[in-house]
Amino acid sequence: MSELTKNLREEFKDKETRHIYAEDFLNTLIATQLKVLREDHEWTQTQLAQEAGMQQERISVLENINYESWSVKTLKRLAKALDVRLSIKFESFGSFLKDFDSFNRETLQCPSFEDDPAFQEKSAEDAASSAAIASSTPASHLRLINSPMMTTAATQRSLAFSLPVALEIESGKATTANQPLSVAETTPSMYRATA
């Protein structure tokens, strides 16, 4: 548990604090995931708008962590456009700490249907062969294969049925298509002033 979540654990003992905090972070989470999924599709805001039957300006508004008037209807439209499912459920505050601690690009990614390993044609036979390998491989290695935290959709596609590659990831040799910029690559000029 990070220092940050240790602080939150203490601060969340106050009801007003935990509810305002969680609600505000939910806005951050949705807007950020929307942007991440759009970028994984390599779509512009205009392309996503076309897929969702909206105006680009609307997508621009939604892709902002300060937007707070989400409607389930809009979220459903976006989910359909991105070919992912929308999941809305009540959660404990305990799970919030975990969500916050793992807030990064990788955990926000999810494959659209055509990249979803669960629906690949070869999934049944590969599941069988993976099970055979599993009998001689430590469980901790195999868990990575289906971990949503693993990598980008594209990488998941290539790794879904390949145990040796997944093990390479574990040893830190593999790279991902959409890794966040390193500090050295992050320059202030990336941020534009707008109204």
Binding site: E16, N64, T186, Y191
Partner: protein, 137 residues
């Protein structure tokens, strides 16, 4: 994780902490969320978290609400040189320089961005003019 720092005035008072204490509790919590998000994910991932101002090197953190909070900050500002590659880059952090609000498209205090630019130079000149970010609840 990104480190956060607060500006200290000439008497050594933490002006960011003092400003934060003047805010209503809901606003303080919303500010907390944005600062924690910045520390956790950095500036690239969450869209709309930081915005450039008209003053070079100075950014505003955007916190919606009534009033809108716009604390002014800068990357670093200290540079680090990688001894193995010789590459120069900014430290992995931000320094909060001025606590500000935006009311009717105007900053309060007036010229908060300009003041932030001045303070950034003061911090660069004297590293003791900042401290680790103080968490105010």
């Amino acid at each position: 994780m990104w480190e956060l720092y607060d500006y200290l005035n000439e008497r050594g008072d933490n002006e960011i902490a003092e400003w934060t204490r003047t805010l209503q509790k809901p606003q303080r919590i919303k500010l907390r969320v944005k600062l924690d998000t910045l520390a956790q994910a950095g500036p690239d991932l969450p869209p709309g978290l930081l915005m450039k101002t008209e003053v070079e090197y100075i950014y505003k953190l955007k916190v919606q609400g009534n009033p809108k909070l716009r604390p002014m900050l800068c990357f670093g500002p200290f540079g680090l040189t990688d001894v193995t590659t010789g590459k120069h880059r900014l430290e992995h952090g931000f320094t909060l320089l001025v606590g500000a609000k935006e009311i009717s498209w105007k900053y309060e205090p007036k010229d908060a961005d300009i003041e932030a630019g001045i303070r950034r130079v003061k911090v660069l000149t004297d590293p003791k003019r900042r401290c680790k970010h103080e968490r105010i609840n």
